[in-house]
Amino acid sequence: MNQKMLAQLLDIGERMLISGAEVNRVEETISRMAKAYGVRRVDVFTITSSIVVTVSTDEGNILSQTRRILAYETNLDKLRQLNQLARTIVGTSPDEEYIEKELSVIQETVPYASWIKLLIYALIAGSFCVFFGGTLEDGLAAAVVGIALKLSISFFGRVERNTVIVHVLSPFLIGSLAIGLTRLGFGDQIEMILIGNIMLLIPGLSLTNSIRDIISGDTMAGILRMSEAVLVSLSIAIGFGLSTLMWGGW
């Protein structure tokens, strides 16, 4: 085990965390991989925004590295491949070149094309609008608003990295659009149209996952994730609130 190799193991852990792995899976994977190379002791500490690893090698060296995680991008296919690579490493402890080659292959997996994502936003917004009790026409209106939502998220996401600001501006925009559409007579239950789109915005999953983290003992990670979820919910509420204030009620 040397610094370069540890960096590679940390690369795998970092990418797993970014792609959507749970905190304890990342910790377990890194320490298992390190042990496959015969180190005496591994200490891994992971929270949602950082990974810290220290290993004591058999030669008596102590190596330590840190990663800061700034942004997430859930990609479960990448996670599956990383997981497979980690298993291979634990099983056969391959050399540095092998890991590097495999990592670059995994890094090249492309996400779905953006036009597909656009359609999927429409599908999700429409489906959940009908799911929660909207009519088919409401569903269509929600789908239109969903496309606008995706466009506004990617636009604001490009010009502004602060998630709070993005999550105020996008709901404001789509709230206004939904109000406009219903006033024109396209769709009549504005609540259902908005709920369909909120399913795309709202961090319901982060909220649930944060509680999962807390129950399973990763209290720090869970609390961080929960504060993020609450913050994002508040920003969304402010965004929608602004749109109703501006256009005079739902």
Binding site: E22, R25, L76, Y112, K117, L123, L205, I211, S233
Partner: protein
Amino acid sequence: MIQIMTSFLGSLGFAVLFNVRGRYLLEAAFGGMLGWLCYSLLSGRLHNEYLAFLVAAMLVTGYAELMARVEKAPATTFLIAGMIPLVPGKGLYYTMRYAIGAESAGFVSQGTQTLAVAIAIAGGVMAASSIFRVIVSLQMTAKN
């Protein structure tokens, strides 16, 4: 019926957004449908919404863990999209609306309800995955 169909479509959509590929997509979406079906069958009969959410989350987790063993992919692949229809999006929305409308009584009751649903789902996931872990380690010791 329409809810079962839309829960499948919604889960499918989220599976695509999370970049699930190939046949895993349909399997993940099926998990979402299964969870909702279980919840809607139970919610009328149990007289306890939270218990229905807990059992549905347990079922989805069990399904995800099983698929993970069958397909040799992490359980998360099937779990995240499968949990989507159960996630309290509507509750969070109404909590938000009460907050905007300055109706503090509605805000508190809707907010606690939403949080309780989230806790029930998380508890269901934890319970089922713990049971699964115990079964797997029992199998391992039996083999050795």
